[in-house]
């Protein structure tokens, strides 16, 4: 061990708490001196379980770690001459157990259990089970594994085996609604997550080599979009790739940049050697496109597009790579993007957006080309129902062939057999009662609870102002800082939805 200079001290930086599960986890950091300038000898990235020793002049040092969730963890230490100070970076919320560290370090599972208590439809667990389906007895969350193949005929098939429920996280974290592990072979596999009163969605799963893919469903009031208070976290099996994707999704590009180079090295080597880790390569591809690091993209984007024909992300990345080169050939780019759409939906939301944007760019510059408009048409229902804040492609709806946004699909879902308990919560009389009664009735409160699950938060807040607090739409609009006619429209729309629901339930 090196001896510090006599008038210097040592600052040790360390990161993590469950090294076994997250051995390749990394976090971007910066170290700042009292003069607010950066300590240039400090590393830009801290690896889990690999402490770093810095020999520094005496003084106070601020260490900031940027977690993929957007959380900034700040720690400070004073280095004395000849002394040694330790700074430990830990996520603010510890994982309930080792196998979930990926979620808690990388994705900042929310604190508290408030959101978890919002589950309403626990009584629906008597719905007959279909093959291959698992259900969390605690939260009522049900999961089913699906496979998707474009040939023959764009088929979606339930997969009978490969999905295992694991409830062990829940007792230690009230926000953990369900946990499962899945065998995901190479190919397009989707997890249907439904029940618990939350909007049904289909989440793309990444193959994880010989390991099982972990999925954690957590209640999260901070989730976007606002009408969806749960987050489905999918473990990609590559911590750097997950962290980079999270940073890219958040717009935290500086942090992504710090992690990106090491992932690119890994992916470049693998693709050059035609070693099959398409997930790391795909994320590296998205990163390099963002970074405009064309000199590192080489021809391996072509390998990615050609070697993994089940993966739509490959031709998307290749097409955008070509767009960055001098004099790009629109015909070649069109062929790639049309091929990507024909393969199915990209695994990552980033790819879905780039496919949509790329096809849109082509369609606007070549409006008469039928292949482009056809490809755009094929993905349009999915882009319209997508959760754009998810890392892996996620779309809402109760049927994978009929994607719908939650405000429509929740109504649809409530009409399914086995959902009749909700009937008791919805009484058409509330509309009449509301006319002259400023205070909330029990029915109104129940309806609000129901609406809480199925409509966007803003509309819910409008309804609360009117139903609960007896405000006129004009007063509600004024209080909320929005147009009163918008409040009225939303009320009418909500009541229309309720009436439609009632009508369907009665039939």
């Amino acid at each position: 061990m090196a001896t510090p200079e006599p008038n210097h001290g040592v600052l040790i930086l360390e990161y993590g708490n469950y090294p076994a599960d997250s051995a390749d986890a990394v976090v971007p950091i910066d170290v700042i001196g009292e003069d607010f300038h950066e300590v240039t000898s400090a590393p830009k990235v801290l690896e889990l379980g690999k402490p770093v020793r810095l020999t520094l002049e005496p003084g106070s040092y601020l260490v900031r770690a940027y977690l993929p969730s957007g959380e900034i963890v700040a720690r400070q230490a004073r280095v004395e001459p000849g002394g040694q100070a330790v700074v430990s970076i830990l996520p603010t919320k510890p994982s309930p157990r080792e196998s979930l560290t990926w979620a808690y370090i990388l994705k900042n599972v929310p604190d508290g259990g408030r959101a978890a208590t919002r589950s309403m439809f626990e009584s629906t667990r008597h719905v007959p089970r279909r093959g291959g389906e698992v259900v969390s007895e605690r939260s009522g969350i049900e999961m089913t594994l699906w496979s998707h193949a474009v040939s023959p005929q764009n088929s979606w098939q339930r997969v009978e085996a490969g999905l295992t429920l694991d409830e062990s996280a829940a007792p230690n974290d009230p926000n953990a609604l369900a946990e499962a592990s899945v065998d995901v072979p190479a190919g397009q596999y989707w997890l249907e997550v439904r029940g618990g009163g939350f909007p049904t969605r289909f989440v793309a799963l990444a193959p994880n080599g010989s390991r099982r893919t972990h999925v954690l469903v957590v209640a999260d009031d901070r989730s976007e979009p606002a009408f969806d208070p749960i987050d489905v976290m999918v473990n990609l099996g590559n911590r750097r790739a997950e962290a980079i994707l999270s940073f890219l999704s958040l717009g935290s590009l500086e942090e992504a940049k710090r992690l990106g180079e090491s992932l690119v090295d890994q992916a470049e080597t693998m693709l050059a050697q035609k070693v099959a880790d398409p997930i790391a390569a795909t994320v590296a591809g998205y990163y390099l496109l963002k970074a405009s690091a064309l000199d590192r993209l080489h021809d391996w984007t072509a390998n990615l597009a050609n070697m993994f024909t089940w993966l739509p992300d490959g031709p998307v990345i290749r097409a955008w790579h070509l767009l960055r080169l001098p004099e790009p050939d629109p015909k070649e780019i069109r062929t790639l993007l049309v091929d990507a759409a024909a393969r199915g939906l990209p695994l990552f939301t980033q790819g879905l957006r780039m496919l949509h944007d790329g096809l849109g760019l082509l369609a606007r510059s070549e409006p008469d080309d039928l292949s482009t408009s056809g490809a755009l048409q094929s993905i349009r229902p999915y882009t319209a129902a997508a959760n754009w804040s998810a890392l892996t492609t996620t779309f809402y709806g109760s049927d994978p062939k009929q994607p719908r946004l939650p405000s429509q699909s929740a109504i649809y879902e409530l009409n399914q057999p086995g959902r009749r308990p909700v009937r008791a919560l919805i009484d058409p009389k509330i509309e009449a009662q509301n006319a002259g009664a400023p205070g909330p009735t029990k029915e109104q409160v129940d309806v609000l609870r129901c609406l809480d699950q199925i409509v966007p938060s803003t509309r819910r807040r409008m309804l609360e102002s009117v139903f609960k607090h007896g405000l006129t739409p004009e007063a509600a609009g004024s209080e909320l800082g929005i147009q009163s006619n918008y409040v009225e429209t939303q009320l009418v729309e909500a009541m229309r939805e309720l009436r439609s629901l009632m009508s369907n339930l009665d039939n």
Binding site: L62, R64, L323, R324, L361, A384
Partner: protein, 389 residues
């Protein structure tokens, strides 16, 4: 008609920042607009905040970016302003008329702005819009004459996503900031409107996309609405933006002897400041910087600050339950001590960048008193936990 800084464009080809500011409050074809109601009105009406917000943005840039908040390498070049209603009051209180924010005027101003941006690759393009917005997969911004035709109801609606993509694809300037203060909800019935034939302001042919720094900041997240104060005034997003440009959005570590506001530090500060901004409906504000548009290189410096940077600070205690018994304080040598009485939530405050002693005291010893001495409070955002560390 819409150039508000300088009096005329000198046509400089040295690196400059060029700004296009649009504030749309009057919509003749939306509710209470006085015109024939658009068939695609979606119950939208007139807005008070956007003209005020847009003027505040333009006035700040003209007053500060040319004096106290300079960027010596990329000074302010031009500010183009379109308003609806069209009355513009400058910082000195003088009024004049600028171009109405119709689609045609916006389109012309956009082309002028983009041509200026294209004069030098090191130029910075800033596009600010405050008004009605919609989003269904793509984002749309409503010009004042949105919905003026029953037969082509979307002809005066800006296809913002395509516009931004076009700029990303074909503009010459390396840095663009898109500041979008508009709703992102989706009231558009898919059955009735399977396609939204909105118009991009820029629709280049396929060509090489150069590397670019693009920073997009939006006033709300997908499927949600942006907010203005009841009764009018500057919107919450724009008010936060001006505070971040003024003092709170600086970068640390420092690169030189002055605090700089960069594309990246502005993003961090905006996200945190909006999270702290209470809205009239009881929720808190948002700033969305995610999405596909942001490509990166080295963050671009927007300007330097004339003095100390402000820092968005959060002081908490581990466990957080202790906070309702804790008196918290932040003390800087030679300055008045800031303190807060016991309360259940973490203490969010703004301090000047400096060293502070941060303390938690418990009157009845419910939890251990804690003190962090000589702590560096560095911009734009910092969280200091006391207690369990």
């Amino acid at each position: 008609m819409s150039l508000v800084y300088p009096a005329s464009d000198p046509g400089a080809t040295t690196p400059q920042a060029h700004v296009l500011v649009i504030g749309v409050g009057r919509y003749p074809y939306l509710i209470n607009g006085g015109g024939t109601l658009a068939i695609n009105h979606f119950n939208m009406g007139q807005l008070d905040s956007p003209p005020e917000s847009a003027q505040a943005m333009a006035n700040w840039l003209i007053a500060k970016s040319t004096t106290s908040h300079l960027n010596p390498n990329v000074p302010l070049g031009t500010v183009e302003l379109l308003l609806s209603p069209t009355t513009y009051t400058d910082s000195a209180g003088s009024t004049r008329t600028v171009d109405d924010a119709t689609f045609a005027n916006i389109s012309n101003a956009f082309e002028t702005w983009l041509a200026r941006c294209d004069r030098n690759a090191d130029n910075v393009g800033i596009f600010y819009f405050c008004g009605h917005g919609l989003e269904r997969t793509d984002a749309f911004l409503l010009a004042s004459d949105h919905g003026d035709s029953r037969y082509k109801p979307w002809r005066h609606t800006i296809h913002f996503s395509a516009t931004e993509l076009g700029v990303r694809a074909a503009a010459k300037a390396k840095t663009f900031c898109w500041l979008i203060d508009a709703c992102r909800n989706n009231p558009i019935d898919t059955t009735r409107w399977p396609l939204i034939a909105a118009q991009p302001l820029f629709n280049p042919p396929i060509q090489q996309m150069p590397p670019r720094v693009t920073q997009m900041l939006r006033a709300t997240t997908l499927n949600d609405v942006a907010h203005g104060p009841p009764g009018g005034g500057i919107s919450y997003f724009t008010a936060a933006l001006l505070r971040c440009l003024e003092k709170l959005g600086a970068e640390s570590p420092m690169a030189g002897s002055k605090w700089e506001v960069t594309t990246d530090s502005l993003r961090r500060a905006m996200e945190e400041l909006m999270r702290r901004t209470p809205l009239p409906d009881g929720s808190f504000g948002k700033c969305d910087s995610g999405g596909s548009s942001n490509t990166f290189g080295q963050p671009t410096t927007l300007h330097t600050l004339p003095g100390a940077a402000g820092v968005l600070v959060k002081i908490t205690y581990e466990p957080e339950a202790a906070l309702e018994f804790a008196t918290l304080s932040a003390e800087r040598t030679g300055q008045e001590t800031r303190s807060r009485k016991p309360a259940p939530e973490p203490w969010t405050l703004e301090l000047e960048a400096a060293q502070y002693d941060i303390r938690a005291r418990f009157a009845n010893g419910e939890y251990p008193d804690k003190e962090l001495t000589n702590r560096t409070v560095a911009p734009p955002v910092i969280v200091y936990p006391l207690g369990g560390i």
